[in-house]
């Protein structure tokens, strides 16, 4: 029987296998590096969004509006979150705060938590229970929404929390399942517009006639779509009531 060279890790490499091993090793190192570079350069920039733990705990007071998802129109802010800002809110993990905010609709409330920030988009992750959101003394009128008409936009529906920095990347098709779990949990959906609308790149998404985002839209999360929507300005935040029948997936 012909003796074939046999590689054993702890013994010297057989002469007949040396060239083969060098070629394979070099190919793997160069190939893996090239593949990593090629794949990495085709990925979109995840942006600068992040939990801003460096800001410390943020506590602000404002009036709660249900769109039907809750917004906080800040009336007494701080250096980071000045009065006049409109904040979307989330609980820890993949949970929204509708259950805590609904009883406070139209009332002043004190919200406390950590800020997530990506460009013009910010969201407050509340502390647990009443430490995160509780009624405050006083009364303030909820700012009346300002209708901006019906628009046709192109862009992508994301979950606002991951997009604001809870995950990087927090958008795109690879993030779709995570985004849908967040949205099912009650985290506000956010539309990233291809170009600014009235100066805003990010718009909160609701359904028509004061409903939550319709189920049909969940199937289009993470895809680039065009959609018609009635847009209104709530405080300094744009809210778009999408018409699911007009959704089209772009090329």
């Amino acid at each position: 029987m012909k003796n074939k060279p046999f590689f054993v890790g702890y013994l010297p490499v057989p002469k007949a296998l040396r060239m083969f091993l060098w070629v394979i090793s070099a190919t793997l190192v160069v190939g893996a590096g090239a593949a990593g570079y090629a794949i990495g350069t085709t990925q979109d920039d995840p942006g600068t969004g992040a939990f801003r733990f460096d800001y410390g705990r943020q506590t602000v007071t404002g009036v709660i509006e249900l769109t039907p998802l809750p917004l906080l129109h800040v009336t007494q802010g701080n250096d980071r979150i000045p009065a006049g800002r409109t904040l979307m809110m989330t609980a820890g993990g993949k949970m929204g705060v509708l259950g805590r905010a609904a009883p406070l609709e139209g009332q002043l409330a004190t919200a406390s938590g950590v800020l997530l920030e990506q460009g013009d988009l910010d969201m407050l992750q509340l502390r647990g229970g009443r430490n995160g959101l509780k009624a405050a003394e006083g009364t303030v009128e909820t700012p009346a929404p300002v209708p901006l008409g019906r628009w046709k936009l192109a862009g992508e529906i994301c979950d606002g929390k991951c997009l604001a920095g809870a995950m990087r990347p927090g958008r795109g098709l690879a993030h779709k399942a995570c985004a849908n779990l967040c949205l099912i949990g009650g985290i506000p959906p956010v539309f990233v517009s291809s170009q600014p609308v009235q100066g805003e790149e990010f718009l909160m998404v609701v359904g028509p006639d004061g409903t939550e985002m319709p189920q049909a839209a969940y199937n289009r999360v993470g895809q680039y779509i065009s959609v018609e929507a009635d847009i209104a300005r709530h405080g300094d935040l744009l809210v778009m009531a999408i018409d699911p029948a007009t959704m089209e997936v772009l090329d």
Binding site: L148, G149, G155, L173, Q195, Y224
Partner: protein, 125 residues
């Protein structure tokens, strides 16, 4: 039924069949084909998750061992013969998947501007 619902339905069927096989195999079958398993029960629940996933293979091996068709020495020969083909095939599949994924990827519609279809009520000229 949407694509997602169909996938969930198929997964439910697969797991249900796996649960039936797991119950039969771990209560009846394993004693018949594995001497070492006789009288040992605590480890059996640990096998349930795997049986749920690969129940066709469990059924096949049960059948082979039960009917005495098993040739243990020959069991690994066919996979060894196919290792080179499988390795090259999988490497090509990775490359193909990457190229296919990139080729069907959408392009960000940065050139599409927002378009106002109708002004807000009460402001029409």
């Amino acid at each position: 039924m949407s694509g997602g619902e169909t996938i969930v339905w198929l997964v439910q069927i697969w797991l249900t069949a796996g649960a039936v096989v797991a119950a039969l195999f771990l209560i009846v079958g394993i004693d018949r084909i594995d001497d070492d398993a006789r009288g040992a029960y605590v480890f059996r629940p640990l096998l349930v998750p795997a049986v749920l996933l690969i129940w066709p293979l469990v059924l096949w091996r049960w059948f082979v061992l039960e009917t005495g068709r098993d040739q243990w020495a020959a069991r690994h020969r066919p996979p060894r013969r196919q290792h080179l083909v499988a390795a090259v095939g999988m490497a090509l599949l990775i490359g193909f998947s990457l190229i296919a994924g990139l080729s069907v990827r959408q392009i960000w519609p940065g050139d599409i501007a927002p378009q106002q279809l109708t002004p807000p009520a009460g402001t029409e000229d």
